[in-house]
Amino acid sequence: MIKQIMAVFSKDVRSELRTRYALNALLMFVVTTVAIILFALRGEHAGPTVLAGMFWVAVFFTAMSGLSRSFVSEEERGTTMTLQLIASPTTVYFGKLLFNVMLTILLVAGVTIVYLAVFPAFEINDMSIFLLTVFLGSLGLASAATIIAAIIAKAGSRGTLYPVLSFPILIVPLMTVMNATVKSLEGTPFSDAMVDFVVLISYVMVMTAGSVLLFDYVWKD
């Protein structure tokens, strides 16, 4: 099973490197979102709360533009049935989840680099809290985005549905990662961020378990 999951993941990575379906969309959104935030702030000094909020706004909207591609590109190119014929639903789900986790981590890394470069006030004072927050936040974002992408891939108005469906499901992890990011910028003790990490870990576990149970039905018809 793990070999097959890695084969689906590897297929998606190689396909992405050839077609650039998601990577180009992600890159353009990062640049556009950060530029708009820069224009909106107009050199104003923003505190950790505002910067942490803006950071995850950039990540959320960029993720919404790219993470659906894992399933939407299969549907648009008509390759869904090929995948259904060769792999079990669980294999496909975890292969796609892994691909979305990788994309989200790349995206968060990209947004972090851009933020560090253009916002001098975005100063990470506790690196361990920040790294754990972005890692768990990426897992949470990818776990929700993957199942929603599978659902909306079958729908007609995919582009509109994706952020609309994702937002209510992602409110909890988004609020939690924003809190934890503020703590990493302010340099509060690691133990203060533990509650946020517990919430994020629980969210990822519940979302992944629920997705595995639901995916069979979403994937087949």
């Binding site: 396909s15 049935m81 259904q84 014929l85 060769i86 079990s88 087949k220």
Partner: protein, 203 residues
């Protein structure tokens, strides 16, 4: 393979009604009917990529019922609406599919034999996007047959194929007609005659 009272509705429209049949190794079935009669829908249900609204399809081996994970490696499926990852070369597609299936087919000489049979060996390293529709259809046969399935499901089997391609398909069909289970969905009387039994749907 047992189809027991298989029906399929799309919204309120009945596409298939109470279809039942049983096939054993060596059996072949031609599914015929007008356009929109549900031939492709039935083949998709048999392949396990579509659920029936009511009824069921059961696969058995040595008296025990097979799970969907056990059935998947036994099925080879070819249809005009099945699409391959055309950003890859033919060999890359076959490698990717073999890895996902964990069939180890890429280690065998069977690939070369099939690619030569379907006249694709010389173009094996070309990107599939550059293939003609007939070549893509030939490649679908190689993909469907490489893991040596016991059940071959063909929807419009000679669609887009030239004379050589049709002859290659005919050879495959005659092999499966003897030892495997073959289902052909077609409107063509010649293709229907390849099979020992016929089922007309939508009548």
């Amino acid at each position: 393979m047992h189809a027991e009272g298989v029906s399929k509705k799309f919204n309120r429209r009945n596409v298939l009604r109470d279809i039942s049949f049983a096939l054993a190794p060596g059996d072949s079935l031609a599914v015929t009917g007008k356009n929109g009669s549900g031939k492709s829908t039935l083949v998709k249900i048999l392949a396990g990529v579509l659920s029936p609204t009511s009824g069921r399809v059961v696969y058995e081996a040595s008296g025990s019922r097979l799970s969907s994970d056990e059935i998947r490696p036994l099925i080879g499926f070819v249809s005009p609406y099945l699409q391959l990852y055309d950003e890859f070369t033919a060999v890359e597609i076959l490698d990717i599919i073999a890895r996902i299936r964990s069939s180890g087919a890429h280690e065998s000489a069977r690939r070369r034999m099939l690619m030569e049979q379907f006249n694709l060996w010389d173009r094996k390293d070309d990107i599939v996007r550059t293939y003609s529709s007939g070549m893509k259809q030939r490649l679908k046969y190689v993909v469907a047959l490489e893991h040596s399935p016991s059940i071959l499901l063909l929807d419009e089997p000679t669609s887009n194929l030239d004379e050589d391609g049709i002859n290659a398909v005919r050879k495959v069909v005659s092999e499966y007609g003897k030892s495997g289970v073959l289902v052909v969905a077609t409107n063509d009387a010649v293709e229907a005659a390849w099979c020992s039994r016929q089922l007309k749907v939508g009548s």
